[in-house]
């Protein structure tokens, strides 16, 4: 099972990296950014499987971006692998610190509490002028195992790193989702009380999902920090979190690949909306998201997940 998952992930990554050689720079940047958001959305999917949605993933996303950005700027560590790992670690640790508190909440209150916490971080960062205040700070492009790409190759190099990160994250999440603890989350989504009676701890499952989601958000934040070249408190603003929730909803929780597909589609819709309908890009984005939610309430992933053999099919509510 794990060998097959990693093989598929590796082949997919290689294919994308090869395709990247012939893709224009603007597409490389768009895909890199989409992967950054896709990673955050993948974390939200982990929570969604347990029946929770967080409007505060911006907190970990921002923590990951700031920590990796500061390590790059202040400690002059530039290797992309170290920086991305540091971002994921920062997000995971922040989530671990907060998880005993927020794992007790459900539904709207979980969403709002996580949002409140991320807005507190936003407010604090906006006032801490030592690290840029509300303006944030710029970050230089990372190096890749000792190699520093020139301007022409920087986008492609970061794109390749993003693809590798996405493949690893997707494979690991697929394994986690299909494992015992992962399936317990699905059960707790349906009825927490019965899960408790069966002997599992819903609190522990939720806590684990919160930490997984935090690490993925931190990883996404680090990646997008370098893709954009600039990090500011807006990473933690509630609208940033809201946009990622949309991506998670579009992707659904049946397929990890669909989440990245949804991220790319959303990013492309935003890009083309901004270009062709500059005065009404929010209208275009809103309409698009509305249409998808209305017609595909379980996300794109449900389109082909339903065709897979075996397993009980979920009845529509």
């Amino acid at each position: 099972m794990s060998a097959r998952v990693f093989t598929i992930a590796a082949l997919g990554a290689l294919a994308l990296i090869a395709l990247g050689l012939v893709a224009p720079d603007w597409l490389l940047f768009t895909v890199t950014k989409a992967i950054g958001f896709g990673l955050v959305a993948l974390g939200i999917v982990a929570l969604m499987r347990g029946g929770l949605v967080s409007f505060g993933q911006g907190l970990y996303y921002c923590a990951g971006a700031y920590v990796s950005g500061l390590i790059s700027n202040r400690l002059e560590v530039t290797d992309v692998a170290i920086l991305l790992f540091a971002g994921a670690l920062a997000g995971g640790l922040a989530a671990a610190a907060i998880s005993p508190l927020i794992s007790r909440y459900r539904g709207i209150f979980f969403a709002m509490l996580t949002m409140a916490l991320s807005m507190v971080l936003y407010g604090v960062l906006a006032k801490v002028t030592a690290i840029g205040g509300s303006d944030g700070f710029n970050v230089a492009s990372p190096s890749f195992f000792g190699w520093t790409p020139g301007v022409a190759k920087a986008d492609y190099a970061l794109f390749a790193a993003a693809v590798v990160a996405a493949a690893l994250a997707a494979a690991l999440c697929r394994l986690y989702f299909d494992s015992g603890p992962g399936l317990i989350a699905l059960a707790s989504r349906e009825n927490e009380l019965r899960v408790e009676y069966l002997g599992a701890s819903v609190f522990t499952v939720t806590q684990r999902n919160v930490i997984v989601a935090g690490a993925l958000a931190g990883l996404g934040g680090a990646l997008n920090g370098f893709a954009l070249g600039h990090i500011d408190p807006y990473f933690s603003y509630w609208t940033t979190s809201g946009e990622v929730v949309f991506i998670a909803i579009l992707g659904g929780y049946a397929s990890v690949i669909a989440v990245f597909g949804a991220a790319l589609i959303t990013e492309l819709v935003r890009s083309f909306s901004g270009q062709y309908f500059p005065e009404s890009w929010q209208l275009s984005l809103g309409l698009f998201l509305l249409v998808v939610i209305v017609f595909l309430p379980r996300g794109f992933g449900s389109l082909w997940a339903g065709r897979r053999g075996g397993g009980a099919r979920e009845e529509p509510k």
């Binding site: 709207i108 209150f109 409140a116 604090v124 009404s280 809103g286 309409l287 509305l290 309430p297 509510k317």
Partner: protein
Amino acid sequence: MDLALTIIIDGLIYASWLFIVALGLTLVFGVLRILNFAHGGLYALGSYGAAVAVSAFSGWGLGGWFSLVAMFIAALAVAVIVAPVIERGLLRFFYGKDEVLVLLITYAIFLMLEDVTKMIFGVDPYYVFEPRNLLGNVELGSLFYVGYDLALMGLALICGFGVWFGLNRTRIGKITLAVINEPEVSQAMGVNIARVYLLAFGLGVFLAALGGAFTAPLISVQPGISVSVIIVSFAVVIIGGLGSIPGAAIGALIVGLARSFAVYEFPEAEIFIIYLVMVAVLIFRPEGLFTPVKARKI
């Protein structure tokens, strides 16, 4: 001494404004179980509507106190025009569905309203200063306040009591409460629940637009005003307990006074004091201060 009085009065004024703005959100959740992200967009429409209406009335020679009537009419117009489109066109298909999914539907509506508002009213700011001059200045001890700002307290009381009375002391209000608890049984007993839902949502939209209309004289009406009120409204509603009108009033008071205190004593904290209050309340009262009792299904 003056500082304490200033903090309290400023806090009460801000709390009144918060309550007026958040009341529609509380009502819509209380009745329809929908956390309406589009609330901010409706508030913005109310502001723009008021700006246009006051100018039109002034042009017709109906200045002075008629500008207050104009603001009221603007809010009513927004409700009558927008509420049926959103509720009958979209929301009715999602009652009883996953609450977060509906939250996202309203978020999409909010995004769309942002651009629709820009298309209709443009991006230049509107100024509506006449209403704020009507009540002159009021001297409180050694402090001076604009009468209009103090009058917001009265408006908040009227709106709050009006909604509470309407829900708890009138026939249609009791029918609405019945629909809230048991839509199927209510329908079986002859209640037209579609009409109840539309009426409740329409009232929610009216209150949002009213909040916007009466805020217009305090600000320059321009793109972006909607985002600023969504989260503070959510904070007030969450703190008070979803669907509780007295809770929303208490929530607004807490947030208003906390913010006023922060502005004078810890200015750096003003930007996030609302969220700290929200976190603090939720830590000790996981479902807000005044959560209506509801049956739990196993």
